[in-house]
Amino acid sequence: MDYNIEEQYDKIYRYCYMHVRHRQTAEDLTQEAFLRFLENKSYREVGKCLAYLYTIARNLCTDYYRRNKEEALPDEYERLLSSSAEDKSGEEYLIDTLDLREAVQQLEIEEQELLVWRYVNDVSVTDIAKILGISRFAVHRKLKSVLGRLEDIMGKGREH
């Protein structure tokens, strides 16, 4: 078995939180994803478990979006975003992080998703390719394009 539930729990939770921006909902979706994942034993045995787990979580988040399209997003996330950088030391680092945070918020949700998988949850390019159903080469290209966009947004921000 190439996954550890305890380790993956935090990652899937963080991923769901990125989508729903609400602690309790993110936790509910994470647990639902694990229950569905553990239900299907045969799929776990064919060695695609991480991609499968993320696919379930992704679908659950999409369903949540559809159900709650009309509802306003809780402000918990915004509050957290504005406060979490204050603990970091180093003025330049703080400025960069704030720049990056603003830039990331301007990205599409699919682009943010890609960054979270690759840079926050350390999901391999191979697994991302399996989740998205595209080639590894296409994942590399997408990542490169997202990083390029981030760089552009941050560059523009600095000019202003």
């Binding site: 539930i5 305890e6 729990y9 935090d10 939770y13 963080r14 939180y17 990125m18 602690r23 309790q24 993110a26 936790e27 994470t30 647990q31 694990f34 553990l38 045969s42 918990e76 957290l80 975003l81 979490s84 950088a85 970091k88 680092y93 960069d96 992080t97 990056l100 945070r101 990331v104 960054l115 979270v116 840079y119 926050v120 990083l147 981030l150 760089e151 941050m154 560059g155």
Partner: protein, 249 residues
Amino acid sequence: MKRRLKSQLKSQMKMIYEAPVPQGKEAFLQKIERMEKEEWRQEEELSCWKVLGIQIGYIRKWNWLVSVLFFAAVIVAEQSVKGRTLWGLSAFVPYLALMVVAEGLRSTRYRMEELELASRFSVKYILLARLGALGLFQLCLLLLLMPFLYTIRREAILEIGIHILLPWLSTVFVMFLMIRKMHGRESHSLCVGTAVIVSGACMTFGIMNVSMFDLAGAGVWTLLLVSGAVLAGREVYQFIRQSEELQWN
């Protein structure tokens, strides 16, 4: 800029996407642990042989009865009626094969497939158990007939083997091929048709009193027998694999 962005990206992204500490993690992990323990316990309780035993109970009784009656009828007929060719025996064998295939199609015929797909043991395992049990039982009976017929008839064991096994294997192969390629009631009717055609061909050769070695040499028949075994095995395997794909759909 790009290099610096990449080097800082990981740590900064982790900070940006930091989520509040989950509250229910420990309780959930304990629940999962209990569930997995329970699953292991149930799996240990319900071993492969037990599943096979349960499935054997679901195979209709007349399937076993007809197979045994066929076996008994051949023994009685061979001792009382002398000098008949083996074609009569070959003509009945395709119907035994039809029984195996009909057993495999029960889920589809009674529209129970979806329910079985959702059950704990998928339709793949159920089919494997049922087809395996009935198919192997019939094959064993047919193989048991071979030495018996050899002692009575003193004909070549190869000839007896071909007369008994080739119609069974070829019928199984053609039937499963048709079931895989075609769906619905048409395939069921075609299976019956196949059994009738193979049986009819054997019967015709019997009435014409044709020796099998007049039709082809021993080498050709052996090749046909081996090919029949390989192709039938392959088709059964493909049929069961296809049922697994159905589960994914």
